[in-house]
Each structure stands twice: as C-alpha cells, then as structure tokens.
C-alpha cells in the first residue's frame, strides 16, 4: 500500500502554507515573546499566581478507582493525572489579517494537544481542559506566532470586536478595554480575560507590521490572498460542502 504523507490542509498559497504549519504537530511554532507563568495565571484569572491547583480530594492515587482498560491504554495529561478541575481559555481574532482564526485554532488543538474540548464560534475560539493544561496551552499560544498583540486578544466574556474596524491606534476594538497600547509601542493587558482590573500591566510585545501580518496570516481575504486564487482549497471546500449537503457526512447512504 502506498504511503501517504499527511497534508493537513490543501492548497499551495501562502495562507495554506501557514495553515499547514499551525496544524502540523511536527512543526515547531516560532516563539516571539516571553510571558511568565505568573502573568498567564493573572490573565486567565482562574487562580491567584502561586496558589495551589484545586484538585480532587483525596488525591487520585489514594482513591480506589474501578478497573478501566481505557485508563491503562491512555497516558493521562499532567492536569488529568493530578485530578485538576476543568477551566477554560478563550481567544478572539480580528478579521484584519490575524495570524489565526477560530477554526484553525480548533484544528490546531486537536492535532497538538490531548484532553481538550474545543469550541468554535464565528469570532471566538474556546478550549476547556484541566487547569494546568489550560495554563500551558495559553502560554504556548501567547508566546508563539499564533498570537499577534494587536489583532488577537484573550476574552473570556464580551468577545465583540473581531469583525469591527480596528481602533485608531491599530488595536482590535474591545468594549471592556482589556488591552492598551503603551507609549513604548508594546501592548499591555490591564485587565484579566473577563474584564477585572489587574494590579500590574502585562506586556505581550509589539504589534507586527502590515507586511509581517500579511506574511503570517491564515485568513483568506480579497485584499490579501483570496480563497479563489487557490484552486485546491476551493475544490476541498466544495467537496466538503457537497458531501455534507448530500448525505450529512454519512456517505453510505
């Protein structure tokens, strides 16, 4: 039998290449900034930095859990091993050439992480997982090329803004003003993801230039690279659409 190499996403355009990179777990995401564990915990707002993770009591090792072949087969994640509670993180990506889109983020989660429950809406993307896993994922996302300080934002509630024009200073509109552009050109979180003020400002670095954004984006746009310019992507979308319409994915019918 012929060996197939996973393609992850169809097409040959720059956007397809970028999507392939994000979806491929073998591809190492480019690290662009440093955000400390403490700062991640502050933005998430689920626990105070340094506070112990709230986990099941008594600890899982002391519990007499029933025999389960699946548990023996599957190696638990760090959070699952510790019996952490389930928490969430949520991101919004602007339509103006953000490096990620909610759908890409969801695909990315399924390919790169285990033990996640991810949800996609038109303008936001949410993932639920065990608390320490959520913190690790958030840190990875904030520090890597998936995040653009002006065009992506952590928004646990009131996500409105992804399809609006950008603000005068280039940031995505945020009703709760969680981020602000500092005089040094860096973007700072001044509130946590649900809008409660933080005691300190957390820097997430400088926004990219227009050219860099267009180079890194995973969004097909008419004023950038249009989806119709990539024939293979159009064929893929049409095939999915047809299959879905004809048989609701149950192709045996």
């Amino acid at each position: 039998m012929a060996e197939y190499k996973k393609q992850y996403y169809p097409g040959k355009s720059k956007i397809s290449e970028n999507r392939k990179n994000l979806l491929d777990p073998e591809y190492e995401l480019e690290k662009q900034r440093e955000v400390s564990d403490e700062d991640v915990a502050l933005i998430l707002g689920h626990r105070a930095p340094g506070e112990a993770y709230k986990s099941v009591h008594p600890p899982l090792e002391e519990m007499q859990e029933p025999d389960c072949p699946i548990r023996e087969l599957v190696e638990p994640t760090e959070g699952a091993k510790a019996g952490d509670r389930v928490r969430y993180t949520q991101f919004t990506d602007s339509m103006y050439f953000a490096p990620a889109t909610p759908y890409v983020r969801a695909w990315m989660m399924h390919n790169r992480y285990r033990g996640v429950d991810t949800g996609t809406l038109s303008g936001r993307w949410i993932v639920e997982a065990r608390e320490r896993d959520v913190e690790q994922m958030t840190k990875d996302l904030l520090e890597s090329e998936v995040y653009e300080p002006a065009l992506c934002s952590m928004r646990g509630a009131t996500v409105h803004g992804h399809s609006l024009r950008l603000l005068e200073n280039g940031l995505m509109f945020d009703m709760l003003r969680r981020t602000e552009l500092g005089e040094d050109g860096n973007v700072y979180y001044v509130k946590n993801q649900i809008g409660e003020p933080l005691d300190k400002k957390i820097s997430v670095g400088k926004p990219l230039t227009e050219d860099e954004r267009k180079e890194k984006t995973t969004i097909f746009r008419k004023d950038g690279i249009g989806i119709r310019s990539d024939e293979e992507v159009v064929q893929f979308v049409q095939r999915i659409h047809r299959s879905r319409s004809m048989a609701g994915y149950q192709l045996k019918i």
């Binding site: 646990g156 509630a157 024009r165 603000l167 005068e168 509109f173 709760l176 003003r177 809008g195």
Partner: protein, 158 residues
C-alpha cells in the same frame, strides 16, 4: 405629515465612514470642526457602544473606565460620548458645504475615509418612536435619537 428635510429646507445628506474606529480626542476635533462649517444643519454619529460598567458575564457591574467614554464639547455643547466613532451623518443646508467638508476632512481625519451623498436620516416617525416618545413635536430630532437607548429623551409628548 411633513418630513424633516422639508422643515430644514434641505435634501443634501452626507455619510462619512472612517476606516478606523475613532477615539474621543479625534471625535471631538472632527465634530467640532464640522459644526463650525457653515451650512451644516444636523449631525448624527454612530458606532459601537462603550459601556460604563460590564453589562454581563462573570464580572458584571465592574466599571470599565474606558478613556474614550468622556465628555466632549462640540460647537459649545457639552455631552457624554458613549461610543467609538464609526459613522458620521450630516445634513447640509447649503450645497457648497459638501466640497468644504471634503477638503476639511482630508486635513483633519487621522485615517482614510469614505464620503458620499445620499439619504440617511429617516423622515417619518416610526411606531417605536411613538411608543417611546409619544408625538415628537420638533421633527429635526428624528434620526438623531438612539432608538435602542433606555434613556428618556424629553422630546415628545410623553
């Protein structure tokens, strides 16, 4: 029923859409300049609302403290700006004012913008207007009030 354009004697209406959502400083500067141009009879602004407190979610009720939500002065009138400016509607009493406005905006607008003539203000009272305000006596305010606002405007007979 007489319509508002008849009352103000004008049929020239203008819509200005900036490419960015403008903050309080730019909004104040632009609106103040526009109000000083002769021939502008009515100005309406639209844009996404900036709440005073967080309206819903786990942090409901926490003050937002948005620096763009503040009092601004336009043509000597002080009022609280509650939005980021996304769209300006003007009604002109003077045809020549259009050219002046275009030139002025080219100088003061901090970003690119589009400007066009058309019909943008409503002419007649709607049922919602009647339910909310009663009979509006001064027809000039039609299209200037926010139909979604819960604030009571002392405009009508209610």
């Amino acid at each position: 029923m007489t319509n508002s354009t008849e009352i103000t004697g004008s049929t020239i209406q203008v819509e200005i859409i900036p490419q960015r959502l403008l903050g309080a400083d730019s909004t104040e500067r632009i609106l103040d300049t526009l109000s000083e141009i002769g021939g502008v009879t009515r100005i309406a602004i639209q844009g996404p609302r900036l709440p005073y407190t967080i309206p819903y979610g786990p942090a409901k009720g926490v003050p937002v403290n948005n620096p763009d939500r503040r009092e601004i002065t336009v043509g000597g009138i002080v009022f609280e700006l509650k939005i980021n400016l996304g769209r300006i509607l003007l009604e002109l009493g003077d045809k020549d004012a259009f050219g002046t406005i275009k030139e002025t905006l080219n100088e003061i607008m901090p970003c690119r913008f589009s400007i066009k003539r058309g019909k943008f203000f409503k002419e007649r009272m709607t049922t919602s207007d009647y339910a909310k305000y009663g009979v509006i006596k001064d027809k000039r305010v039609l299209g200037l009030v926010d139909p979604r606002s819960n604030e009571i405007y002392e405009l009508g007979s209610k």
